[in-house]
């Protein structure tokens, strides 16, 4: 398979005017992604268990108050999870996050907004040759500027840790250089510039999900670099994880 070209560079003015390298496509109209870092679950669920009820209004500072439907992902940071993380009581205005009492969590929400009178039945590809060229039916909206989604599949080291940097992981598929990313070609050590050098600060969100094998140590995120260049991941030795990050790009 050959290298995937960035054809939308030629036709999409957004890529020139904002700090994003590519547009993220969608199969839905009015789909948005937003995130929030929450510093603790306040209500006791018994023992070490805790929970908090969140509204979309609270998480977005009033920019999103209601959604048609949502998919919600949460990740404990700063210490290993004791109770497994889960979501309950999802409604059109909020949800309950269940996990560890007084623990902090990153939350990433993929939501579809209610139908708007302004929304037309057209798709993005009907508007713009850039989206048509990329085979995008829709694109994903945001409530903030320059927000990018960074996803990668990583392998933790023999010690069960990995220092994840955006610079390394937006240029190569594997941190050890054993596999070249078909989307962002270039062997490790090449001079190809990464798509994301860093986020504006440490207030980005990161969610982990195991790939290929079950875990014995639930994966969690450790220290977030204050300059937005990356964070640490802790889990099983040599474990494969899918990494999802949402943040404001500061390239």
């Amino acid at each position: 398979m050959g290298r995937v070209t960035t054809r939308s560079h030629q036709t999409c003015p957004l890529l020139e005017d904002f700090h994003i390298r590519n547009i993220l496509g969608s199969r839905e109209r009015r789909q948005v992604i937003f995130g929030s870092t929450e510093y603790c679950l306040t209500a006791g669920g018994g023992g070490t268990s805790g929970y908090s009820d969140f509204t979309f209004d609270h998480l977005t500072g009033g920019l999103v108050t209601e959604v048609d439907h949502s998919l919600i992902f949460a990740q404990k940071w700063a210490s290993a999870p004791i109770n497994r993380t889960r979501i309950s009581f999802k409604t059109s205005t909020g949800f309950r996050l269940v996990g560890d009492l007084s623990a902090g969590y990153d939350i990433i929400i993929v939501a579809t907004l209610p139908t708007s009178p302004r929304a037309t039945p057209k798709w993005a590809k009907d508007y713009c040759p850039g989206c048509k060229d990329m085979d995008f039916w829709g694109i994903v909206g945001s409530i903030y500027k320059d927000v990018g989604l960074v996803t990668s599949r990583v392998k933790l080291g023999a010690g069960g840790t990995l220092a994840f940097t955006f610079k390394d992981h937006t240029a190569y598929w594997e941190p050890d250089g054993s596999e070249t990313d078909l989307y962002l070609q270039g062997a490790k050590g090449s001079e190809k510039s990464p798509a994301v050098q860093r986020m504006v600060d440490s207030t980005f969100q990161a969610v982990l999900f195991p790939s290929d094998t079950p875990f014995t140590v639930a994966p969690w995120t450790g220290t977030f670099a204050t300059d937005g260049t990356g964070f640490t991941i802790i889990g099983d030795a040599n474990e494969y994880l899918n990494v999802l990050c949402l943040g404001q790009i500061a390239n």
Partner: protein, 125 residues
């Protein structure tokens, strides 16, 4: 461009009510998601089945969605999150994805419980 938002430049974003759009690192990728209730300890999730949308007479989706039939390659990333009413079992250590194919993948999880799932990669519409 400091004073402008995407909605000032992109008419589709304006019509959808978006102030801005989400950027991506890798070109040509689409995000899609669905909710799945496990019927066993591991289920084979088929994209076409999980994202099926009612089709109108025009052949277009009637709910503002498109069905995903296949990915371009298997370099897509999967994320799953357990969603259940209080009182359900905690997510087990056996929740992970495996065996990614162009038309779907296998998810290991807790039988009878529901998961929010997103997939990010290149879609063959």
């Amino acid at each position: 461009m400091k004073d402008k938002w995407v909605k000032n430049i992109c008419p589709y974003a304006y019509d959808q009510g978006f102030d801005s759009v989400i950027g991506d690192v890798k070109p040509g990728e689409t995000i899609f998601g669905f909710t799945h209730t496990m019927a066993a300890a591991h289920d084979h999730l088929n994209f076409a089945t999980e994202t099926a949308v009612e089709q109108g007479s025009s052949g277009k989706g009637t709910t503002g969605q498109r069905t995903i039939h296949q990915m371009v390659d298997t370099y897509y990333r999967v994320f799953a999150s357990k969603v259940s009413a209080d009182g359900g079992a905690s997510e087990g250590a056996g929740t992970y994805e495996v065996t990614k194919a162009l038309d779907g993948f296998i998810l290991y999880g807790d039988n009878g419980y529901t998961y929010d799932i997103i997939v990010i990669g290149r879609v063959k519409f």
